[in-house]
Symmetry: C2
Subunit: 222 residues, 2 copies
């Protein structure tokens, strides 16, 4: 499949791009509002993977061009731009292309980080509201720290929880995620169940802040 990571120059996009390029045979492209920046970063990813002996092809484009002909589009932009980014690329989405929403929305006060969902109930639902009818949305990757992904020496052993209303789209994403070494996928039901997944992310940061030696945490259900 062709996998496009919009905002693929950001840290979570970088992490997913590197892992997919290293561990799977999918075609990985990264997108950015700035096509030149995307191209430069894609070159850096290829170089980093090459230094580790992985002959991977990652290409970089503007978000619209990255979206074109993609089977799966990961909306790895900051949460406040997630819905608007989908609107920008909507005309370039292949019918049936699956959107993945890895974002959560948080605020911070003196106590720590707190889940601060948009009016739709979750970022995933906000993305779905902005997506064309023929493009199902799946929530995934919210509870994985970017640092845990981008550090390619780090062996992952965590869960990726999936939410989505389209069973086939969820299966496609499940296969894609499970292709990354050390990730297990679990199904949490429909997209309306996304907020309970997204709200774990601020907790992971609060745990990192309050416990010695814990950082870049993920979660495992057992």
């Amino acid at each position: 499949m062709r996998i496009a990571l919009l905002g693929g120059t950001g840290d979570i996009g970088e992490g997913i791009a590197l892992r997919l390029a290293r561990d799977t045979d999918h075609e990985v492209v990264i997108g950015s509002r700035d096509a030149e920046k995307a191209e430069t970063r894609a070159g850096e990813y290829v170089e980093r993977l090459g230094e580790r002996g992985h002959d991977a092809a990652v290409e970089g484009y503007g978000n619209e061009e990255a979206t074109t002909a993609a089977d799966v589009v990961v909306v790895s932009v900051p949460p406040e731009y997630a819905a608007s980014t989908v609107e920008v690329v909507a005309d370039h989405l292949d019918d049936g292309a699956v959107l993945i929403c890895p974002a959560t929305q948080m605020d911070r006060d003196a106590t720590g980080f707190h889940y601060d969902p948009p009016a739709d109930g979750s970022v995933a639902e906000a993305v779905a509201a902005a997506a064309p009818e023929g493009n199902p949305v799946v929530g995934a990757f919210q509870n994985i720290a970017a640092g845990a992904l981008t550090d390619l020496d780090n062996e992952l052993d965590v869960d990726v929880v999936l939410t989505g209303d389209d069973v086939d789209a969820k299966a496609t994403v499940g296969d894609l995620v499970a292709g990354i070494d050390g990730l297990r996928t679990l199904d949490a039901g429909g997209l309306a169940n996304s907020s309970e997944v997204e709200s774990i992310t601020p907790l992971l940061i609060n745990l990192a802040m309050n416990n010695e030696g814990m950082h870049d945490l993920g979660v495992r259900f057992q």
Copy 2:
């Protein structure tokens, strides 16, 4: 210490009582609105532990009497009764006795279970609002399935996340929880960070409903 489990005839109270009585040297008492029921259930717990070779003492009383002279009081009643139960026993609380809130509040629709916090932001904060000033509240045990605790053949290997504004109270609860075999405690900061812990519980149920062979799930951060 003397540990009182209000609502200790319910399933989560039962689980915590059995594990504390089996794994620690603390004095365990269970409370109920119905003192006779508490006494009967306490006898059953002692019998079950005895059948497994554990010579444990668990006693049962009305909630007020169970609270008297307790060092730690676990408010293991349904969430809608948590604050009012604290009000009922308030005059019986020793100054400095620590309250543990293991509850979360959920609703259910066609999609699954959803976190439905009270107006205070979390059940733990609602309990704190009802508690006397000298009785600190610590959130704990929300993400452990009652079935995982009550099945004494089940070896636990999960985390208990603590929230609370009183550092000493949180340390007391941390020691208490860590006394139960297979539980690790993690500090998630102040009580205002409780909602992100409580909201994991409906997700655990959604995961159990949507994944073959997964039930009585807990969580591990790694």
